[in-house]
Amino acid sequence: MRYLPHTDKEIEQMLSVTGHAHLEDLFSHIPDKCRYQGELNIGSPISEWALTDYFKSLGEKNSVSSAKAVLLGAGSYSHFIPEIVSDLMSRSEFLTAYTPYQPEISQGTLQGIFEYQTLTARLLGMEVANASMYDGASALAEALLMAIRIGRKKNTVAISSSIHPHYREVVKSYLQAESFTVIELKTDKKGRTDLSGLADIDGLAAVALQSPNFFGVIEELQDAATQIHDSKALFVCCFSEPFSYGMLKSPGESGADIVCGEGQSFGMPQSFGGPGLGMFASSKKYQRNLPGRLIGETQDVDGRRGYVLTLSTREQHIRREKATSNICSNQGLCALTAAAYMATLGGTGIREMAKLNFNKAEYLKNGLLAAGANLLFDSPTFNEFTLSFDSDFSKTRSRLLEKGIIAGMELSQFYPEYKDAYLFCVTETASKDTLDTVIQEVLL
């Protein structure tokens, strides 16, 4: 591919039209102090193949699964993607990020997203799911905004400090612009959210928990639902690992009003953190307050089944500034990928995969405990867990890295109060050899 800059002659011609003597004059309104004055540190021109090699070598500095065994978790999970999913998703008919609004030319994609909504609603135990959000973090922010809309005059939300730190940052970015109050709830000694102070919060529209939470701990959702509803607030349940609901009671069954989270686990590669998929569901009662697009099933004039956008009056192209959200185009391809992934595994497959994740994680957890590690929280976990070490685990970590294993994320970077504690994650892709190696290195 060639890059053709303007010639001096062309530039001169254009300047004569705009009435400027020099190219620089076009930038004269930008204050000097805002402009970079030195020479840019860019090398001399090189060939395309040399450039490709250069960037390839930079890329190889990354430590990615499956080249390395990554046992980190924290919102991004290494799950196997069956070939059928990748194959289907590489079909050009599906390649768009948008949810199409022209039913006459988009039946395939619309049906695919309708299936995604159906599968999502079933997995989360909710009545309605939308056509997707950007990612787990923005989905949580939108869920809280939705709860504030439903709560009308209420303008405070409480979020658990055991929610993913990045999600909490995004929530604050979204909500502070509208001058809503965000209160953080403490984590108790069991690694669960302390809900004891809810009664003292005025104008509480919603309480958000994550389960399993950032420490991998499974929150007691049913008890939480009772306490949150007693304080007249909506219960927003979020998640970063939807596989957990293959095994655990769904948030819907546990009494959540809005459920949202990250769908990366369902067929999306980790890809340096994105793109993700925001899964979003609620009870039917609140469907008109949902953000984003919704696909509905209908019939055409001849009585044939068809799919269309529905309840669009919530959206910005109709309702302008009163819309439930500014999101319109979204993660259409990622939602279709998740639909293909969930359908490939089926209900039984998701359950079996969840058990495999749980069993492997328990194997490593128990092995490390026997090797001398301590539980940071003595509570049930799914495929992530936190341990603290009396010895210096960072040295073990370096030795493992040399063996191609990236194990344990230092918790203190997000929670300074938990020193020498690490978050581990084990998915189905971790081999027994890998897990045994980690245990052996801790024993050293």
Partner: protein, 131 residues
């Protein structure tokens, strides 16, 4: 769309600038939308109403009406406490189109009777529509 002469505008009720009607029923009032409003909106498919017990100041948004072509916010013509909402509209919002004056939206207990002075009678409302 109806011509002005075709509109049904009863004599015995008040109207607001926002095309609502207000009818006294003892110490409470019922609020609905005028024939003009329902005609302008087209087929109404959903009515979102406040909760009983909520209080509003005059001019507050108290709910929304959704038709096949638009969503309109409803602003309360009198401040007060909601004592009832017309639940029949949950399942049959189209009743607002077919009989806008018998299908009230909310019943409130007004907090300030002087606010009645700002409402319009039939003649005044008709004049507003003519302008």
């Amino acid at each position: 769309m109806k011509e002005l002469s075709e509109l049904d505008l009863p004599e015995n009720i008040f109207y607001s600038d926002d095309h609502e009607w207000v009818q006294k029923t003892g110490d409470t009032v019922r609020i609905g939308i005028s024939d003009y409003a329902q005609d302008q909106m087209g087929d109404i498919v959903f009515v979102e109403m406040p909760e009983v017990g909520e209080t509003f100041e005059k001019g507050d948004e108290f709910g929304t009406l959704e038709s096949v072509k638009a969503v309109s916010e409803m602003f309360i013509p009198l401040g007060g406490e909601v004592v009832a909402v017309n639940e029949a509209l949950d399942d049959a919002p189209e009743l607002v189109n077919s009989a806008p004056y018998s299908n009230w939206l909310v019943e409130i207990r007004p907090s300030n009777d002087s606010e009645f002075d700002d409402l319009l009678n039939r003649e005044q409302y008709l004049q507003l529509l003519q302008e």
